[in-house]
């Protein structure tokens, strides 16, 4: 249909096969126990597993090098790192907007890497994504933006979809803007509609790629409040790339610091912020603060 790069049916060259679910869960448990303030038990499995993820653009620019990360149900992971360190690429690999060059992405122990386009589009509804540039559908109203996934993908009736849309827009404080087109909304409002659109699909995990970077400073707060509400009251599993250190410190269960396509350091927010183990982390945090 279109010659875009979203084609994801290229089987990633496996470095080594993905681990069996039980073994992976046991390993992740042991690895992550002290790195996150999120509470999880031995009989739980990570909801997202990133194993040996490698991504090379144009055959030579290696952007991700052997990234490993497990995210637990209900956990909020904030990814920090300088620009160009591969944070966006990692996030986009998780829902296969970018095809991994090697490695595995698993959602609820089901491998996404190597799926056909149609299988993939089904599974993508379980991974919500919020973009830096909002990417609302400009020809649809706020309400229709939230409804379209309901009717087209979940095949809900128009009435059900509308009810869900109104509920989600109310949750982000925009019930009164339901019939506005994106162009009539402020950036902050647009981003909240985008969050409502993703949440309305009731995904297992939400990915946020610098959701407030394109916003005027006074609009950042509203969006962060919606995200905090989502984390604290809905127990949503979230992977958030952001430069908002306050948000990271207060809301994150775990902070992951990336640089040069590798995870340099990860841990509980207070540990990473107050006692960074790696000098590059320290330098980065020092520059920011």
């Amino acid at each position: 249909m279109c010659a875009r790069k979203a084609s994801a049916n290229v089987v990633a060259k496996a470095v080594e096969p993905a681990l069996p679910a039980e073994e992976a869960a046991a390993r992740a448990y042991a690895h992550d126990r002290d790195l996150t303030s999120h509470h999880f038990s031995l009989d739980e499995h990570p909801i997202v597993r990133i194993e040996h993820l490698n991504k090379t653009f144009d055959g030579h620019t290696q952007v991700l090098r052997d990234v490993n990360l497990d995210v637990w149900p209900g956990e909020v992971v904030v990814v920090l790192g300088p620009s160009g360190s591969g944070k966006s690429t990692m996030l986009r690999c998780i829902n296969l907007l970018e095809t991994p060059t090697a490695g595995h992405i698993l959602l609820k122990d089901k491998e996404l890497t190597g799926l056909s386009a149609s299988e993939l589009s089904k599974l993508r509804q379980d991974i919500g994504m919020v973009f830096q540039g909002f990417n609302l559908f400009p020809h649809l109203t706020a309400k229709e933006n939230v409804m379209i996934g309901q009717t087209k993908v979940l095949k809900k009736s128009k009435e059900e979809a509308e009810a869900e849309a109104i509920k989600q827009l109310t949750d982000v404080g925009l019930a009164d803007r339901a019939d506005f087109k994106p162009a009539q909304l402020s950036g902050g409002q647009q981003q909240r509609v985008a969050i409502a659109r993703a949440v309305a699909m009731h995904p297992d995990v939400m990915l946020f790629d610098e959701p407030t970077s394109a916003l005027d400073p006074e609009l950042v707060r509203g969006v962060l409040d919606v995200m905090r509400d989502l984390a604290e009251n809905s127990g949503m599993t979230m992977i958030v790339v952001t430069h908002e250190m306050g948000f990271a410190r207060e809301v994150a269960d775990r902070v992951v610091f990336m640089e040069g396509g590798v995870v340099v350091e990860q841990g509980k927010p207070d540990d990473v912020f107050d006692h960074p183990q790696n000098e590059r982390t320290a330098a980065f945090l020092g520059n920011i603060e």
Binding site: M1, C2, R4, N95, L97, F134, N135, P138, G149, K152
Partner: protein, 465 residues
């Protein structure tokens, strides 16, 4: 047919004349009607209009043994000889005979009384200037009667029928203009009279009308097909499959790279050669549809590619399939973006139907050409221009309004998201698509203009990050 009968009658009359010793006088053939003709009085045409003055010429032959003392011509009710001037000519062989005559008229009757009876075997010609046929129009025959020198009265044969046109309000208006001194003064200016003769504007508006309707009909019938074909080829050109893409590129480039004029000739002269006979109008529709589809395919392709990559990603991230994304997200946005360019293309196609006149499609240009060759005046062409402009000027205005509205809705409200910057350059590309079409079309009439596709290669838009 009537003329043949008349000739036959003359022949019979001669036979009768020669066989006078044996035959009883056959009065019926004493004055036989040869023919009746009328001078065209239609402005810019060759028709004879009822109710407007014209010239009637009537000719008859006197039989071999008779002399005729008076002739009465009669028109159908509504015809009028009053106020006309009549010239009577009598010929004996090739020599003209001077005979005084007295003409009297009474409505649809005209009587010519000869001072001396006109001799046998002479030819009688009566030319009536300034008479009128019945305003209702229709086939007119001239009948009447004559008197022989012997005082006998006989009916004349009916003449051949003269086709006349009914005198419409339009014809009356033209007659009024003809008589108007201001119009006469206007027309006496060489330029105004040649390009903007009011009478011809009026009559051309009516006579070119069917051509205009056909133009509109052709382009309106062709365009929906052009849009569907164009959309199909634009999607094919964006396909992931190399062969599908190659087919679309070949189709689009062949049609964009050759003049429409040539395509028309190939279709209209080529297809009959291989036994495919399609009516002119239908074939015209097909050629216009196919030609436009190539340009529309490029417009749609550029439009589709002008939609930022983020739209595909957002759709994918909520689980929409490729098809759903295309038809629910991408195409609706594309439609709004391409409306101005497509409207411009429609204007071009509408104007280009004029090329079909070269192969005998009875469209506007064809009628204008005919009207000009009959009248020897350029005004019908100017009138054709009016017909084209009736459609194109409002559409040009509409394009401007839509363009401004899109500009406002895309750039106006709220802070611009970063991803939206993709749209700017892509819209420029879209405009390039429209521009290159216009340029291509301009060349079609003149000859082959080689066209270099003015587009970035595929993915050019997609790769903007």
């Amino acid at each position: 047919m009537a003329r043949l009968l008349a000739a036959f009658a003359v022949a019979l009359a001669c036979v009768a004349g020669m066989g006078v010793a044996f035959a009883a006088p056959t009065e019926a053939f004493a004055l036989s009607t040869n023919k009746a003709t009328a001078r065209p009085n239609e402005d810019g045409g060759d028709g004879v209009i009822g109710g407007i003055e014209t010239r009637l010429t009537w000719e008859g032959t006197v039989g071999g043994d008779e002399e005729v003392s008076s002739v009465t011509l009669e028109l159908a009710d509504g015809g009028n000889f009053d106020g006309s001037t009549t010239r009577v000519t009598v010929l004996d062989g090739l020599t003209r005979i001077d005979i005084d005559s007295e003409v009297s008229t009474d409505g649809n009757l005209l009587k010519v009384k000869f001072a001396d009876p006109i001799p046998a075997n002479s030819l009688l010609r009566i030319v009536v200037e300034g008479m009128t046929f019945p305003a209702a129009g229709g086939e007119q025959v001239v009948s009447g009667s004559y008197e022989t020198s012997g005082g006998e009265s006989h009916a004349l044969d009916d003449s051949n029928a003269i086709d006349t046109i009914s005198n419409t309000p339009l014809q009356q208006a033209v007659a009024w203009l003809d008589a108007n001194p201001a119009v006469q003064a206007w027309n006496s200016n060489r330029f105004l009279g040649m390009f903007l003769k009011p009478q011809l504007i009026l009559t051309s508006l009516s006579s070119l009308f069917p051509g205009w309707v056909l133009c509109l009909g052709i382009v309106c019938a062709a365009y929906p097909f052009a849009i569907l074909l164009g959309l199909a080829f634009s999607l094919m050109k964006l396909s992931r499959h190399k062969i599908v893409r190659a087919i679309a590129i070949t189709y689009i480039n062949l049609l964009r790279g050759t003049p429409l004029f040539l395509q028309i000739y190939i279709a209209f002269f080529g297809l009959p050669m291989v036994g495919i006979n399609i009516s002119n109008n239908l074939l015209g529709i097909c050629v216009m549809a196919i030609n436009s589809s190539a340009y529309l395919a490029e417009i749609f392709r550029a439009g589709i590619q002008s939609i930022p990559q983020g739209q595909y990603e957002a759709a994918a991230s909520i689980g929409m399939s490729r098809m759903q994304t295309m038809f629910s997200i991408i195409l609706p946005q594309t439609v709004r973006r391409v409306i101005p360019t497509v409207t411009s293309d429609f204007i071009t196609s509408y104007k280009d139907t004029s090329l079909l006149s070269s192969v005998g499609v009875m469209e506007l240009m064809m009628f204008a050409k005919n009207a000009t060759s009959v009248s020897g005046n350029i005004t019908p062409y100017v009138t054709a221009a009016i017909f084209y402009l009736i459609i194109t000027l409002p559409l040009i205005k509409v394009v401007g309004i839509i363009e401004r509205r899109i500009e406002r809705s895309e750039r106006g409200a709220g802070p611009r998201p970063v991803a939206g910057q993709d749209a700017g350059s892509a819209t420029d590309e879209l405009e390039a698509a429209g521009a290159s079409h216009a340029e291509a079309i301009e060349r079609t009439g003149l000859g082959a203009g080689t066209l270099e596709p003015a587009f970035a290669e595929e993915g050019g838009v997609a790769d903007v990050r």
